[in-house]
């Protein structure tokens, strides 16, 4: 770099800091606002950024606790936020676990074995990934309607059905895990095979322990995907107690019963852990992002 720094350089640095700070202030304004809204009383009142009167009523409702309102009435939670959060976590964890199991075995075959149609299968997996599931919602609805008429536990409005629907989207996971397997030298497994291990034993006891980090990352990725997925869940789930958070949260803001304050508390309560998981995983996710996954 240039060694001589003139005066205008210093001004530029200061200007950059000012610009970035102002930009960040604008960007995180919604977050600050939502914290303040969750703490001030009432669902309609337009108020100041720092509430003059702090009330925990919205938080109580979000946590499922009823409280006594101003007019002495008992205000009960209208939406089972914690149940929705639990549904989301349950569905995301199950689909991530099943997806991980399926994609790890597939990735092993793709990385270590030779068989007919290998190239074609891998390419068609990538191709399938390019078409978002939003476009096939009608078909997905019809398929699960039909599955449900034979196996009720996997039909419309069941968590089993939703988990099943999510397990199909494993193409990117297979590619990610395969990429990692390719970086692990094959000699170690071969040594195990010389000692009499079957291919499955080499996979289970030699390769898998070494690939643990990538398995964690893929699990987290799939988990977050499951939590934030909206279209399929909105088509497959109907009953109030069955909803995931992504589908249910919308109901706070229907014009007929607008619950702005309650929504704010629920949003922080559920958004915070998910954001934390995301920030934890982002270090590894960025390499995956540049490989082609898109959001926003």
């Amino acid at each position: 770099m240039a060694v001589v720094l003139d005066k205008s350089h210093r001004w530029r640095v200061i200007a950059a800091h000012v610009f970035l700070l102002a930009f960040i202030a604008a960007i995180i304004f919604p977050f600050l606002m939502i914290i303040s809204i969750s703490l001030r009383p009432g669902n309609y009142a337009v108020g100041e950024l720092i509430p003059s009167e702090i009330s925990l009523e919205h938080w109580k409702l979000a946590l499922g606790i009823s409280y006594q309102g101003l007019d002495g009435q008992l205000v009960e939670p209208q939406f089972p936020v914690l149940l929705w959060l639990w549904n989301s976590i349950k569905i995301a964890a199950m689909s991530a676990a099943i997806g991980l199991l399926l994609s790890t075995t597939c990735a092993y075959a793709f990385a270590r074995m030779q068989f007919k149609g290998k190239r074609m299968m891998m390419n068609s997996l990538l191709l399938m990934q390019m078409f978002p599931s939003v476009l096939a919602l009608v078909a997905i609805y019809a398929i699960f309607d039909r599955i449900g008429s034979h196996v009720p536990a996997l039909g419309i409005d069941t968590h089993g059905g939703l988990v099943l629907a999510y397990t199909g989207g494993i193409a990117l996971h297979i590619w990610t895990i395969k990429g990692y397997f390719d970086t692990i030298p094959v000699e170690i497994e071969e040594a195990a095979k010389v000692d009499g291990a079957t291919p499955f034993q080499a996979f289970r006891y030699v390769l898998l322990p070494m690939a643990l980090p990538i398995l964690m990352v893929v699990f987290l990725l799939a988990f977050i995907q499951g939590i934030i997925e909206y279209p399929i869940a909105s088509v497959l789930l109907h009953e109030k107690d069955n909803l995931t958070l992504a589908v249910g949260a919308k109901q706070f803001l229907y014009p007929q019963h607008y619950r702005w304050g309650d929504f704010a508390a629920a949003a922080i309560l559920s958004g915070l852990p998910i954001t934390a998981v995301f920030l934890l995983a982002q270090k590894w996710m960025i390499s995956g992002l540049t490989a082609g996954g898109v959001k926003g």
Binding site: V46, L127, S149, L253
Partner: protein, 509 residues
Amino acid sequence: MRRNLGRVWQPLLAVISALFGLYMVMKIYVAGQPSLALGCMAVLGIGIYVYTSGRAYAYRYLFPGMLAAAVFVLLPLIYTFAIGFTNYSSKNLLSYERARQYFLEETYQVEGDSYAFSLHDDGNAYRIRLERPDGKVFATAPLALKKPEPLTVEAKELAKTDAALSATELQTPQLVPLLPALKKVTVTLPDTQQATLSGLREFAPVRLLYKANADGSLTNQQDGTVIRADQQTGFFTKANGEALQPGFKVGVGFDNYKRIFTEPTFREPFIRIFIWTVAFAGLTVVFTFAVGVVLAVLLNWEALRFRAFYRVMLFLPYAVPGFISILVFKGLFSENSGEINAMLKALFGISPHWFSDPWLARSMLLIVNTWLGYPYMMVLCMGLIKAIPSDLYEASAIAGAGPLTNFFKITLPLIAKPITPLLISAFAFNFNNFVLIALLTGGRPDFIDTTVPAGETDLLVSYTYRIAFEDSGQQFGLAAAISTVIFIMVAILSIVNLRLTKVNQQEAR
């Protein structure tokens, strides 16, 4: 020992799962869906071959994953194409056989002695008790009566003094909520006479309404008219052409596509929505890239301190789940009670109608989507800028170039090529950005001059969703046809993208 155990349980497990699979196939076949049963049988056959033959060893690892991808990703895509060529909708929901069955099970009430009816609580279920004028009493097994679905049940004769029944009779207030379900119940008495609900306390004898004829038509036994299945329109019709509900699914060829592209009521909103979709996706890419690349340049500037802190803060919008931040914006932009309008009112005395004015709604979508999307662009650009050799900047510094010259003459041209495919996939993603539209505006404000449900901010995907799941007609066939059109557009984008990526890779070598 362990190995011996494995030798025993592995074949056992295989046999048990094969038998279970066969049982399921049987069950589906008996349920009257031979093609589905055949498909399942084929999958089962391949599964058994893969897990027993030594030659297919590699496929043992692939089978479950590939099956899941095929059934839940590939099959829906293919099925969408197929549905696009049918009249599948809420009016034509059933298969031909099921629709015919529906008509054959319809009944009408005939003259004759009616039955005194009472409903009796039996734990979580209810029993229907009918009493004939001659004093004979009949009762059904316990029924759930949860959903109003057609149901035929048998009633058995009871001794008149059955104490268990008479004690638990439901009074009218408890009876009323169960009426929708009760109306659908047909009771078959031991002498094969059938009866349905005809009053709050009364069942009347009924007969089957339709009789099947040899040529496939049905004769109405009440008024003697004949109805025939019209395989063109998917309805049973009377001689005068009147169509009867429910209809059934039939193939309609390219009718749905003709409707989209030639019928003015569909073509006009389709074109308007298409233009907005392209504009939305294009402008989103431009804005997010512009913001992202500027921030990326700043964050790669070594003279700047606290870059790690800035990076995390700027990344934050990406880390928060989309469905939460979009709904937060929905509340903040709210016209009457939103904080943004409150501030605008305090500062400038204006309160824009973010949700009812088309252009404001569109700008709001672009603002929110830029907020959501710029961190992704920023991260991509940061990686690419890092790869630019620093001696280029040193050379330009010697030549006395300023930061703007550097940006436009070095940085931008050098990242343009590698980022183009990523910009195209971002375009494709936003082309189908259903979640944003569904959660923020729902496509509203609606067009006022069209008959189909469509709005000023609808993207093609959300338009499809509304036709399929929100419009009262639930026109699945039409929605699937539009989806197919979008598929083709996405496919073209993907092909362009693959070409560009390949060209880039070849040049890199």
